[in-house]
């Protein structure tokens, strides 16, 4: 019967009727709705799809049995991660140098041009040796490793292998009150912590997702690996006989990564016992069938969605940081630059942590990107007016040990501090954007920093207590 247009039922009447009927529904009606939807879908699928045999299943099952087996599961996983990081570190060198020399050539030409026009030196310096150099440096050192790491990572993702990693490692995360998919966001963090934070979107329960966001910084990203490798090669390797030097260097870097993983698990556990208390929510992990990767999609996702996305955010913070770095290095009070004044002021605190004032200063002003920490440090040590590249390894050692009093403790604590400190500005902004909360962004920044202070202070105190330094 059509509704009577002259006398439409009152809205409140309908609502009242609905309220009254709701009581008679019983508790299971939602289940019934979903069940009927699935039945409908099944009927349609049966009409349209014909399956012949189970060959695909058998093949997938055979692979699954290998990659999740007690003997091969973990080694395969570690090997893949090691290979990806190794290719990234080795492969990024040449393109990084190429981009750097190109961009710095532009800087030199532009500076010369400005000079010939008679523009005051401080405008040239601020614009080209400050803002532009900061930008150029970040692009040169960030772009190649990310452009190599992310496609490889996305390849494994597209292949369907990554969910198996989460499946294998879930037992660790379950004990920490976290989600197995955190293994994936951590692996992503090796490429870039900001991308790792974005990747936590795959974790569908808010509590576990926050844990993954707050602890992502405990895995060292691409930007921190060169620092770790440099310290491992210059200091740790030198303490061993030449035959073991390269193994010792590699071992020290791996050691730092392992410490990072341990901190991730312990801090996740602590968070889920304190401020993020709650029960593990629905752990459901889909293990999709293996499939032939789609290379166009891989390139698009990894380069546009990940690399450029992160680079763009980094560039936004790199320009102002370049300006600040240049100002601090070029404004003198008395006969000493502002940067040196601040470093002297921070020095007692730095020494307490087994570091020094220059290192702390570098971590403060190079907050936009971990990649420019070492150049900033060298700038202050050498007293130059702009960020400076690594000299040869031997010169570097002379500079740090003989002229600025570095010890083995400084090197080891700097490795630890490179792992345990506040995330870069890009990551902090990303945490803010993902959680939409200043509180969580602040905690995400201060928690690792506080842990870094405690750990370096402890190692420094122990080393001094035993008279090792």
């Amino acid at each position: 019967m059509p509704p009577n247009p002259t006398n439409p039922p009152d809205a409140t009447e309908i609502l009242a009727k609905a309220d009254q009927l709701r009581g008679t529904l019983g508790t299971g009606f939602r289940d019934e709705i979903v069940k009927s939807l699935y039945n409908e879908a099944e009927t349609i699928a049966r009409r349209a799809v014909h399956a012949e045999g189970d060959h695909k299943y058998d093949f997938d099952q055979r692979i699954d049995r290998i990659v999740t087996s007690p003997i091969f599961g973990l080694p395969i996983m570690l090997l893949m991660l090691a290979v990806i990081i190794w290719i990234t570190v080795i492969g990024a060198n040449a393109p990084s140098n190429l981009i750097a020399s190109g961009l710095f050539w532009v800087e030199a030409q532009a500076a010369n041009l400005f000079e010939s026009w008679g523009i005051p030196w401080w405008i040239t310096g601020f614009l080209w040796h400050g803002v532009y150099r900061g930008l150029a440096w970040v692009i040169a050192v960030m772009l190649p490793p990310m452009a190599i790491f992310f496609p490889m990572f996305t390849f494994l993702e597209d292949l369907g292998y990554l969910p198996r990693v989460a499946f294998n490692l879930d037992f660790l995360f379950k004990k920490s009150g976290a989600h197995g998919k955190q293994a994936l966001t951590m692996a992503m963090g090796f490429g870039c912590n900001a991308a790792g934070v974005v990747a936590t979107r795959v974790i569908d329960s808010p509590r576990e997702r926050l844990i993954a966001i707050l602890t992502n910084n405990f895995v060292p990203c691409n930007g921190r690996f060169p620092t770790l490798i440099m310290l491992g090669t210059v200091f740790v390797a030198a303490a061993f006989p030449p035959a073991f030097a390269s193994i010792a260097a590699a071992g020290s870097v791996v050691g730092v990564v392992v410490i990072g993983v341990i901190f991730t698990l312990v801090v996740s556990w602590a968070l889920s016992k304190t401020i993020l208390k709650g029960e593990a929510s629905a752990f459901t992990l889909e293990l999709p069938p293996y499939r032939r990767p789609n290379f166009i999609r891989i390139l698009y996702t990894s380069l546009i969605d990940r690399t450029l996305f992160v680079l763009f955010r980094a560039v936004q913070t790199a320009a102002p940081a370049g300006a600040v770095i240049w100002i601090l290095a070029n404004i003198n009070l008395g006969n000493v630059s502002l940067a040196q004044h601040i470093a002297d002021f921070l020095n007692p605190f730095g020494l307490l942590l087994g570091l020094d004032g220059v290192i702390l200063l570098a971590y403060i002003i190079a907050i936009p990107a971990n990649e420019i920490v070492v150049p900033t440090m060298l700038m202050v040590y050498l007293g130059t007016g702009m960020m400076t590249d690594l000299p040869g390894l031997n010169d570097l050692k002379t500079l740090l040990v003989d002229m600025h009093g570095w010890t083995m403790l400084t090197a080891i604590n700097l490795m630890l501090f490179a792992l345990l400190h506040n995330p870069c500005a890009t990551t902090i902004i990303t945490i803010y954007k993902e959680t939409n909360s200043k509180k969580w962004a602040a905690l995400g920044a201060l928690l690792p920093l506080g842990i870094g202070f405690v750990v370096t202070f402890t190692t420094a105190s122990i080393a001094r207590l035993f008279g090792w330094v």
Binding site: D31, T68, F171, R207, F283, P288
Partner: protein, 334 residues
Amino acid sequence: MNLILWLSLVPALLVIVFAPRYGLRTLLGNWREMRTRELMEDALKHLIDREQQGRHASPESLAGTLGLPAAKVMNIIARMNSQNLIEHRGVELYLTPEGERWALHVVRAHRLWERYLADEARLPLEKIHAEAHRREHSLTPAQADELDAALGYPTRDPHGDPIPNRDGVLPSGGGTPLTAWQTNRPARIVHLEDEPELAYAQILAAGLRLGQTIRIIETAPERYVLSDGEAEYLLAPAVAANVHVAPLPESMLALTDAVPLDELRHNQRGEIVALDEACQGFTRRRFLDLGLTPGTTIYPELKNSFGDPRGYRVRGTLIALRREQANQVWVKPT
């Protein structure tokens, strides 16, 4: 020098204390106002609680529940009186219709929060009462309506207590205390009284939960022995009175020869019978989204070298579930 210091310090302090919106005086005043309101709402809750139990409330019972000295309780009573929320009949206190409306709102806010905290925030059950108590006072009726709608108009809180609807009407149908139930008659736990906390903690510690099917297998003056067919549960009679049960509904009868999904052997087929009653909110929606609906065939296909999680084949896809999750799905082995 000193004079200048003092001349600047004194106005600064005055501003800090007396600033109109964020001054200490205003903040302290706001805080006290809020605190009084919370106490008043707790008092209203006590009154409606007593009325529903068919007992009367008095200043003494109120002082006991709120844990406050008599003088403060009299203040609160005077305040509620002046707002026409209660009336005296001798020493007994009664809610006016206005007071009852407010009290039901607070009860509703509390139970909706409990439902939210248990289902969506997945807070441990023994923690939700205190947390809901903290939050119930800051919810306006309009916000309570929104929460109600977002949760899908639940009728009971996680302890089985009825949640009043927008108009303060309570859904009907409660349970019988375990102490009044016959031995050996199957029953479903419909309500676990969460006050006093000590008794509630003992119920949880014994392992009982809402929705569980049990039988009384032994009653003695000093203890009750219950069984769910597998494990046995011991309760003191005083605690057993806080467990309320009802006859099994039709749908639960189907569960009698079902086992939790986790008990299926490798590659052993099973048909999903139902999702556990205790599995609500976020978890239940997720399960249904993945197609774990009654009648679906499921079997464990992928072992894990560390035991947990296992991979289950359902509707052609492979889905990994942890043991705790798999135990919330009841299946009939085939």
